[in-house]
Symmetry: C2
Subunit: 381 residues, 2 copies
């Protein structure tokens, strides 16, 4: 792990930009700099005493000093910190502690910083607390300093992401073997999430697993609550969009499979989507293309084929610790692609069914290197 | 649904506090005021173009005007809004839109507010964007205005929460029937989440389902990744902590079950925990007790029994749209309990295993009314 080097780089940037400290909530930014794997969100908001201050301070002189609620967080962070000598300290917030005092004490401990940069998803209430306690503090955006570092993965990160991609391929293969007539999108998605565990990934996907069962002329069945229970049946088009978490990094993957047969029209759309992805991947050479240009290259294939209006989203997004992270492959982003960046390349045509493909692809000197490699041929099951 | 009334109340409070508008991100606060069920977080951060402005403005004169990213949000909000005439408008943010312009346009549309209150978990980047675009805008905390309203549930909300509690009981009963020797905590938790779907709840729990398999003298087995795979075996203590989402409201529930036998010591601890919960529930009379006092009542039972140091957390928390919401049953909260408030009552003793009970309990004139009612006797399976 290169956390010493990452911290040094960020501490230097901090000084150059005139910041006395970073305060990062428990987040992907903090994971990147500390090596402490972020604790996942709950589906509805939980609220532990002190969690508005759950995170860490980093100063130009000192590594992460964590501030952690006792309940549901302190044991976790202590365990994570055990093999990480660059973590300076862990301060526990007890249920009875007044948060103004907690904030005052920690600020004193890190030298009463006045110019503080914070992660850009920090809660307003956290920011207000820091404003109140610092009095005349000024606050800036730490994420925009960290994002360009996170965008370019080092060898250690690339090795993990390659392993995540490889396990994703295996998971998909295992799921395909389980699909039977009559299963619903929910049944299949549940199997996807289960296979993640069986393949040694973190429990829980990197984003809510997406499976759809559609197809021309296929009648949709839904429960009274609006959940699709359309059964897999001959002619169905089953489309996948899922990703794992593995050692703190994620994958994001897509394929479309066809039940028993595949119409000529679907073959045409499938060919277009694959050609679009192939042209984008080939163009992913270090220094040779911008995010916006890459989007245009892939889009042109589908537009020239006459289906431009059914490709309704950006070509893809940066990926690493988060499933979506900068840069983004769309018109507004003119980042020049560089070796070590990783993007999803995910063209689609959504006409009578979702025909899509998606892989995480690493930028190299010679073009893109896909980190997942399940067959891109017609998949008829 | 009483959204018209809720909006009126909040619009009046807005004027009294001198705010020109609220801006609420897609959140439980916005769900409460608009009736649009919040979209759940992904386990790792996603980033759609425009999602820092995903939410709604409400002014003293106008109901919610939603601002929604096209990708992954606009179809959802449009569908949710269909039967809600109090929603004034939905403005879609396209992938190519400059966000400063989007923010400027929406502010103009709502009368260029200068004093704006926002939800307290709004991202720093959202707040910065609004600061930048309003120039001399002042920002305050909308959540502290909304929280006391949310704390007291109306009849419609109580009916939903009662149904959520009843389905939770049924889910737990169904899970107990599936437990076999050799299953692990993961297997059981997976069954819990599956039963939620089968019982017509929203897919996915209100917080990560907690199941532990422990017990005095029971050897713990873990995978190389640190996941517990201790099998259910005679003498095991299986402890549950889970909740559903049902029609936008949540439950939170706990019981402890014993495999084949239960030692005298466990019976003693179980009795203490149940007595602690029973005394707290009896004391939940409108106007008669504060949050801090209730915590003390329950804690005293376990302290008097000699196990105070093993009851390591607050007695419980408010619950409704979020799994944890104010008020909180601990030393720092002196809210007086009022009819219609709902709290978890969840004493525990964590010595050689987690002996716990948890139910959502509604405050009434005559004491607490539990919304889940699975047996509190010794559960030996």
């Amino acid at each position: 792990m290169n956390h010493g080097k990452r911290l040094e780089t960020v501490q230097k940037a901090m000084q150059e930009k005139g910041y006395d400290a970073f305060f990062l909530a428990m987040s992907s930014d903090l994971q990147y700099l500390s090596g402490v794997l972020r604790q996942p969100h709950n589906p509805t908001d939980d609220d532990k005493h002190g969690d508005e201050l759950y995170g860490a301070f980093i100063t130009p002189q000192k590594g992460p000093i964590f501030l952690v609620p006792r309940m549901g967080a302190s044991e976790y962070v202590k365990a994570q910190a055990q093999d990480k000598p660059w973590i300076e300290d862990i301060v526990v917030i007890d249920d009875g502690d007044e948060l103004d005092k907690v904030a005052t004490d920690i600020l004193k401990k890190v030298g009463n910083p006045k110019r503080i940069a914070v992660n850009d998803r920090l809660w307003a209430r956290s920011l207000w607390r820091l404003h109140q306690v610092t009095g005349d503090g000024e606050f800036g955006n730490a994420s925009e300093i960290i994002a360009p570092l996170r965008a370019v993965k080092d060898q250690h990160e690339l090795a993990i992401m390659k392993e995540a991609g490889s396990r994703t391929d295996q998971i998909f293969g295992a799921v395909l073997k389980q699909i039977r007539l009559g299963m619903t999108a929910y049944d299949i998605a549940r199997e996807v999430d289960h296979q993640m565990i069986l393949h040694g990934c973190t429990a829980g996907p990197s984003f809510h697993t997406g499976v759809s069962v559609e197809g021309e002329g296929l009648r949709q069945h839904t429960t009274p609550e609006g959940r699709s229970v359309t059964p897999v049946q001959p002619g169905a088009v089953i489309s996948f969009d899922f990703g794992v978490i593995y050692e703190g990094y994620v994958s994001d993957f897509g394929r479309t499979v066809f039940c028993q047969s595949m119409s000529e029209q679907y073959k045409l759309l499938h060919d277009l989507v694959m050609e679009s992805q192939a042209q984008a991947i080939a163009a992913m050479k270090c220094g040779q293309v911008t995010a916006a240009e890459l989007n245009r290259i892939a889009r042109k294939v589908i537009e020239d084929g006459g289906y431009g209006k059914y490709f309704t989203h950006r070509l893809g997004h940066g990926i690493g610790i988060d499933v979506h992270e900068p840069p983004f492959l769309y018109e507004l982003d003119d980042t020049v692609l560089a070796t070590g960046m990783c993007f999803t390349i995910e063209p689609s045509i959504m006409e009578t069914a979702e025909i899509r493909v998606e892989d995480v692809v690493q930028v190299t000197e010679n073009g893109g290197l896909p980190l997942s490699n399940f067959s891109r041929d017609y998949l008829i099951i």
